[in-house]
Amino acid sequence: MAETEITFALPVTRRAIADFAVAVGEDNTIFFDADEARRQGFPDVVAPPTFSVRQIFEVPREEREERLGASLDYGRVLHGEQEFIYSRLPVAGETLNGTMRISKDFTKEGKRGGSMRFVTYESVFTDADGAEVLRALYTLIETSKDPGA
């Protein structure tokens, strides 16, 4: 029996922020230099806008599939869309509480025959005070045929 949601912790460390920022070509000092970040009014270095994709470290794909039960065939799955809604950026030193659930699951007929199933995993991240920091919507598209190009 599938569960309706998965809860997990997402640690936000200086090291993880720096590694992630380098990987997306960032050079803004507020990701690397805590003193500079403080001078700009942040408690510590902040995480880049797409940093929360690191949730895959905490909830790997197999676990997500097994527990939320979308039964996707990953040979036919593409990452279709991604959305982030921010109250603020995560800050080094905190651990966010994540809650992931399937918020959308629908099938649409394709223009050239076949159908596409859209499954959206929505993750809400809150801080130690319970306030929402950001939410991330991860939409996968499962095609009914070989995805081709």
Binding site: N28, I30, T50, V53, Q82
Partner: protein, 150 residues
């Protein structure tokens, strides 16, 4: 090197184009580095043989790596990443090693202190041999909402 542009609300009007930012050319090392930093270890992005056996002529960039570059461009256009309130992307084609990623944006609406921006990231390059790709293709269509000081 890029640096955030400090922009105020009054300096932004609908129809305004943001200066194109070009990242890359992307390399396989970039894909490996992103895999380690992001946790996306899907072998399609790192393992040539696996990619060829799964319908791709070679490895290609993670969508979220490209989205990460585009978010970087948005952050720099509007004074820093903390200006973002919403960021949404739709992936339209794959981006290959050797491609550049050209990011552009246009202000759509300015309303109640929120600036809505239309985004595009285009792959630019010859692509894998034998695929006959256009030199330039739209890889991401996106939108962002940012808040700016008065």
């Amino acid at each position: 090197m890029t640096a955030p542009t400090n922009r105020t609300l009054t300096s932004v009007v609908p129809g305004m184009d943001l200066d194109e930012v070009v990242y890359g050319p992307l390399t396989r090392d970039d894909f490996v580095r992103y895999a380690e930093a992001s946790g996306d270890d899907n072998p399609l992005h790192q393992d040539e043989e696996y990619a060829r056996n799964n319908g791709a002529p070679t490895v290609f960039a993670m969508g979220m790596l490209n989205a990460g570059y585009l978010a970087h461009a948005v952050s720099d256009w509007f004074g820093g990443p903390h200006r973002l309130r919403r960021y949404k992307v739709r992936f339209t084609t794959r981006v290959w090693a050797g491609d550049e990623l050209a990011c552009t944006g246009r202000v759509v609406v300015v309303e109640s202190g929120v600036v809505k921006v239309g985004l595009e990231a285009r792959r630019r390059g010859s692509g894998p041999d034998g695929l006959g790709l256009d030199e330039e293709e739209v890889a991401i269509v996106g939108e962002a909402e940012v808040v700016l000081p008065e």
